[in-house]
Amino acid sequence: MSAGNLARLTAIAALLAFGFAFPLVFTNPAVTNDAIYTLIFVAWAAAWNTFSGYSGYLSLGHAVFFGSGAYFTGIATRDWGLTGSEVFWLLPLAGLLGGVIALPFGLFALRVRRHTFVVITIAVFFIFQLTAYNLATTGGTSGLLAPPINFASATYNNPFYYIAFGIAVGTVLFSWLIRRSRFGLQLRAIRDDEDRARGLGVRAMRIKIGAFVFSAVPVAMVGGLWWYYTALVDPSSGFDPLNDVAVALMAFFGGLGTVAGPVLGALVIEPSYLYFQQQVSAGYFFWMLYGALFLVVILVLPRGIIPTAAEQIGNWRERRRSKGADAALLPQATTDAGRAKELA
């Protein structure tokens, strides 16, 4: 095992241990509350990235799955009279429902590319939001309330935290496996040049739909969890267009199409969002700040933190190696080597 791999494994193990110990160390419910929302977005961003990041098809409609998961969990809890931790058993079903919705959605939307695809996802999103407003079973504008939960108040947040943590870790693992697989390679071939990939024998439609369906499952699951934790879903919060864009921002911020990028993005952006929201409560100034942050991220770091940092580290290593090999080598040559590597 190389030193790099060992370091990476150690870092992952440390991160997992930190995640496990988090609610035991920080017992303040206000802190674990923010942690739960952050983990929900880690799962969502990582799942979104397995489709949009790998395939290059930008979906602004994943809130469809989030809202559907939330509404499904809400309706099933109400109609089947579930209470307490029984509700958590609905989450796999919510995930399944997300996948089932994604299949016809994908079959239809993935016939078109680029801008048209983005707009179709937005249109489908609005159909779902409108449906939630208009149906009787979804409670219309007032939405669905969760029943009161009788967990002990000191550890009330813990079940939610660990389930969100489990879904997030599972999603990232899944994203990593996909990226390493033939399936992931085919997805990235589609991103680079779909027509050429098809020419080389990639069954583009199947691959795209597969990724779309897979990416919907965790999003619907965290949607269900979010409903139970927040205790209320209404059409504008369950189907919130801002969430779609926030997730895209997280992935861009960390590095679109990388495994760690969306996780890093969610871990940075969601807590700062919550912090700003709680601190800068004065009016809507906070909104403008958020939009401005958004602009800065995209204009200054268009490729995201992880790819930019990886390139910097690569350049630095290159420079060190060539210095050791030949002290007389001109710096000009090393930067050219770095640049060639970047191009390759």
Binding site: R111, V118, A123, I127, F252, Y284, W287, M288, I298, P302
Partner: protein, 291 residues
């Protein structure tokens, strides 16, 4: 039947205003290959400008267009210059959507800050009075909106097909690299096109504000309608946007007669059905599909 005809007339008159707003959106797309998600909130911003002029300065909204149109034009040029021009690379399409969304969020925040979330509206005398012809009641504002939209669309058409600048715009739409090679200043064309595409929201916003109450949240509803229209018409096709807007708004008015709660869904349903049959939209070019 009378109700039905009234719905058709309302749809055609109202559709013209949507056609104008959508024409701006599709023009920007054609030249720059980006979708301006902020178009919806820009319409709302223009409506607030008309509102502020009429309520605080007592300037008639129609007369106020002399101020709001240039103001929106300058804002459009500024947005293009500050943000859109700087996008490069493979993810340009995605980034342009996110950047224009961020611009929309900033404008929305600013509007909330300035005007609050309570819905407002203004009612110039011509928004209340209506004229009775051929058995239809037509509010003057609808006629004014239709006239404004028709005039602006005609002006855009003449600009595109009868002027040298229009020729350079069309050349840029066809092939950016070739346009640059024959000496067209593509950056300038892009900035001016973005300005024109945003300036039409001033007229659209004035009519929108006079016919609806609105708050900063109204931008979402507008942009989802406008996006449906431009995709249905075929991205980059102004004629397509015109046809799609008239069709969509008329269909919405007709459904509205017996199903008011689901009327908005017509937009998306029509869009879904048409795209299943024709993925490029009604008048879209084949290239719109290529990656």
């Amino acid at each position: 039947m009378a109700q039905f005809l009234q719905a058709v007339v309302d749809g055609v008159l109202g559709g013209a205003v949507y056609a104008l707003m959508a024409a701006g959106l599709t023009l920007i797309f054609g030249v720059m290959d980006i979708i301006n998600i902020a178009q919806g909130i820009l319409v709302v911003l223009a409506a607030y400008l008309s509102y502020a002029l009429s309520v605080h300065l007592h300037i008639d909204p129609l007369l106020g267009l002399l101020i709001t149109v240039p103001a929106m034009f300058v804002l459009g040029v500024a947005i293009e210059w500050a943000f859109m021009r700087r996008l490069r690379g493979r993810e340009r399409v995605a980034m342009s959507l996110l950047v224009s969304y961020a611009v929309a969020v900033i404008i929305e925040g600013a509007l909330y800050q300035a005007f609050g979330s309570t819905p407002v509206g203004y009612l110039p005398s011509y928004a209340i009075k209506s004229v009775h012809i051929f058995g239809f009641y037509l509010p003057y504002i609808y006629l004014i909106g239709f006239g404004l939209a028709a005039a602006a669309l005609a002006a855009i058409y003449l600009m595109l097909y009868r002027t040298k600048f229009g020729r350079s715009v069309r050349a840029t739409m066809q092939d950016k690299v070739a346009a640059r090679l024959v000496g067209i200043n593509v950056d300038r064309v892009a900035a001016l096109t973005f300005g024109i595409g945003v300036a039409v929201t001033a007229a659209g916003g004035m009519v929108f504000g006079a016919t609806n109450t609105f708050n900063p949240d109204s931008g979402y509803d507008l942009i989802s309608r406008l996006l449906s229209i431009v995709i249905l018409g075929g991205l980059g096709s102004i004629a397509g946007a015109l046809v799609a807007a008239l069709f969509m708004v008329t269909a919405e008015e007709i459904v509205n007669i017996w199903q008011p709660t689901w009327a908005t869904a017509v937009y998306y349903a029509v869009l879904v059905i048409v795209l299943l049959v024709r993925p490029t939209g009604l008048l879209g070019k084949r290239e719109a599909r290529a990656q």
